[in-house]
């Protein structure tokens, strides 16, 4: 396959690395080390021009510290702002941790392929997330709930290390109120408190015990590699075919547009051809992710 060269007049072509400036509308702290940030474009033209598909990602800047890649965890139907969520773990997220209302951060995107929400219509949806991987499923959950008629039953299984590590716990409670939605929260053994009313166990274990509708279903599994690896075979055993089991792969990215050479997994550039893959596609990839 040969990609046709794109001719562009460099004198007028935009600088693809130049981000849009975003105003911080709100910061929400979820756990001891995770926060989500709500952002609005400072430039109105950029705001009007912007649209994205749930499952796509952005590259967010803390000027002076650098850029980092996060899923856009708000729904694509929310027009006034976007949200992203991060765990404080390095230089950029240390700087983002200090960000407050009215501050400015940079945003480039949207990048990547996103979830095929149209294809998932008239199907039952199973969402499985672990830890900080709640944000990349949250956008799809909200999208599905906002188009409630178009989707069947929704099962959400979300696990964290402990009761203190649940991200978007308020959303979990709200989703449980919807008809035809089953929310199962779980924490790793030892992570429970005496008043914990959710499940105790790892996500794959909890999935095994749960009563989940699996006919005419698609599943989205996002989490640490070990969780994905152990959860996918269970879905297969439940009768889901490989092309109905989805995941979103994590990768250290720099450019987001297939140039910096960092995110390839075998022949696939995760930033352009991913980050969303079916198990069918995953099986064709080398073990390089």
């Amino acid at each position: 396959m040969t990609a046709p060269p794109v001719s562009a007049d460099p004198a007028t072509a935009p600088n693809l690395y130049l981000p849009d400036l975003m105003e911080v509308l709100e910061v929400q702290q979820h756990t001891a080390d995770t926060k989500s940030v709500r952002l609005r474009f400072r430039n109105e033209i950029a705001a009007k021009r912007f649209s994205f598909r749930v499952g796509q990602f952005g590259i967010f800047s803390a000027f002076g510290s650098g850029e980092a890649t996060f899923n856009i965890c708000s729904s694509s139907t929310w027009k006034d702002y976007i949200e992203f969520c991060f765990r404080r773990t390095g230089m950029v997220t240390d700087a983002l941790w200090e960000v407050d209302k009215d501050d400015t951060i940079g945003f480039r995107g949207p990048y990547g392929n996103g979830y095929p929400m149209e294809k998932w219509r008239r199907k039952h949806l199973i969402f499985l997330g672990g830890g900080i991987a709640m944000p990349p499923i949250r956008c799809a959950i909200w999208y599905a709930l906002e188009h409630r008629d178009e989707y069947g039953e929704i099962t959400i299984i979300y696990g964290a290390r402990s009761t203190k590590d649940l991200v978007f716990a308020d959303d979990l409670a709200r989703w449980a109120q919807y008809d035809g939605v089953q929310v199962i929260r779980c924490v790793d053994p030892g992570g429970e408190t005496p008043d914990w009313d959710g499940e105790v166990g790892f996500v794959p274990e909890v999935l095994k015990r749960a009563d989940v509708r699996s006919d005419n279903s698609v599943a989205l599994v996002v989490g640490p590699p070990i969780m994905i690896k152990l959860t996918m075979p269970l879905l297969t055993r439940m009768g889901l075919v490989d092309r109905d089991i989805y995941t979103s792969l994590e990768s250290r990215m720099k450019c987001g547009v297939g140039k910096c050479g960092r995110c390839n997994c075998g022949p696939v550039y995760l930033c352009k051809e991913g980050p969303v893959f079916t198990l069918e596609q995953l099986k064709a990839l080398p073990n390089d992710y």
Binding site: A3, F63, G64
Partner: protein
């Protein structure tokens, strides 16, 4: 009938470009046995023979090692962004090796697919490449093993081929190249001649067969035992193009820059979570070989290697691409060297 230029006339022509204020770069001796492509300050510094290859490649002239993408300035809680100015200066690279020039159209694919990279594109337009066909090779050269050779014209605007000790044949390949030379050549009844290039060192077809089957192979580990993971191979390579984006600044503001990077570093793919898809040097060597000889060709139709051998010349442990490919090619040959058992 061909066009020719005497070597002194070529040097004088370079001098006239410099006098006109043009930016001219070419091979310059910077120390014993050490030649680098560098901006020329005088035509006398230009070195056209007596060495096999420069230590660096010409990619830095279209894809600088360190490049400002834009500047940021803090204004209270707001930030002001100042786009980096587009390069405007025309530049001529003279005395490029064919294996350097050939890398440019190969690099075009990745910088142009999807969203074009503006500054790369601009520098490509502003750069004229005058290539000198190779008459000498060393054991590291392997262009001929990759269907290239000592007078590969890819990426060149002009190709100079030695006719004799005094004269080069001038083959202009683009109008940009012709414009530089057209009034400065004389007619010649001889053409430049060069040899057939370095001997073939491995079988590219065997390599292709091997890579199709051996992503998981113990052979990668054997190379990794030697590799120091220093990344010199990537920095000396005409086609390696991976980069990092970082901020450099202080409390008032700064620049967002991109720097060359290498897949040979463990940090290259390390996730924030601590997970790393390539924790071992063997995986990183495998990545470099696969990227160049399978992934890039599959995606863009060109091999991400021109056979220059710089990765081996610059390697502190005599590794680099060629020894790896020779070993792979030998492995792939073994089963076939056994006598056929068919009746």
């Amino acid at each position: 009938m061909s066009h020719a230029i005497r070597k002194e006339a070529l040097r004088a022509l370079v001098g006239s470009w410099l006098a006109e204020g043009k930016r001219v770069a070419g091979p310059v001796a910077v120390g014993p046995g050490r030649v680098l492509y560098q901006p020329l300050v005088s035509p006398e510094r230009l070195l056209l023979d007596g060495f096999i290859r420069t230590v660096n490649s010409i990619k830095a002239f279209v894809f600088p090692r360190h490049e400002e993408l834009y500047a940021y300035r803090f204004r209270g809680r707001q930030v002001e962004l100042i786009d980096a100015p587009l390069p405007e200066e025309e530049q001529i690279v003279i005395g490029a090796r064919p294996c350097d020039a050939a890398a440019l159209p190969v690099l075009d694919h990745v910088f142009r697919w999807g969203t074009p990279d503006r500054s790369y594109e601009r520098r490509r337009e502003l750069t004229t490449v005058v290539t000198l066909a190779c008459r000498e090779y060393d054991d590291h050269c392997f262009c001929t093993s990759l269907d290239s050779g000592p007078r590969d014209e890819r990426g060149s605007d002009v190709l100079l081929v030695e006719i004799d000790e005094e004269t080069y044949e001038v083959v202009w390949l683009t109008s940009k190249g012709k414009d530089l030379f057209v009034r400065h050549t004389e007619r010649a009844d001889r053409k430049g001649t060069i040899g057939t290039g370095p001997k073939r060192k491995f079988d590219a077809a065997a390599l292709e067969r091997f890579l199709a089957e051996n992503f998981e192979s113990p052979v990668w580990e054997t190379f990794a035992l030697r590799c120091l993971g220093c990344g010199a191979c990537a920095y000396d390579c005409p086609t390696c193009h991976c980069f990092d984006i970082v901020d450099e600044g202080d409390r008032h503001g700064g620049m967002r820059v991109r720097n060359w990077d290498s897949c040979q570093f463990a940090l290259f793919t390390l996730h924030a979570s601590g997970h790393n898809p390539r924790t071992a040097q063997a995986q990183r060597i495998r990545q470099r070989i696969y990227h160049k000889f399978r992934i890039y060709p599959d995606k863009f139709g060109d091999t991400l290697c021109t056979g220059c051998g710089n990765c081996s010349r610059g390697c502190p442990v005599h590794l680099g691409i060629r020894p790896v490919l020779e070993a792979i090619s030998a492995l792939e040959r073994k089963p076939q060297s056994a006598p056929p058992k068919t009746p």
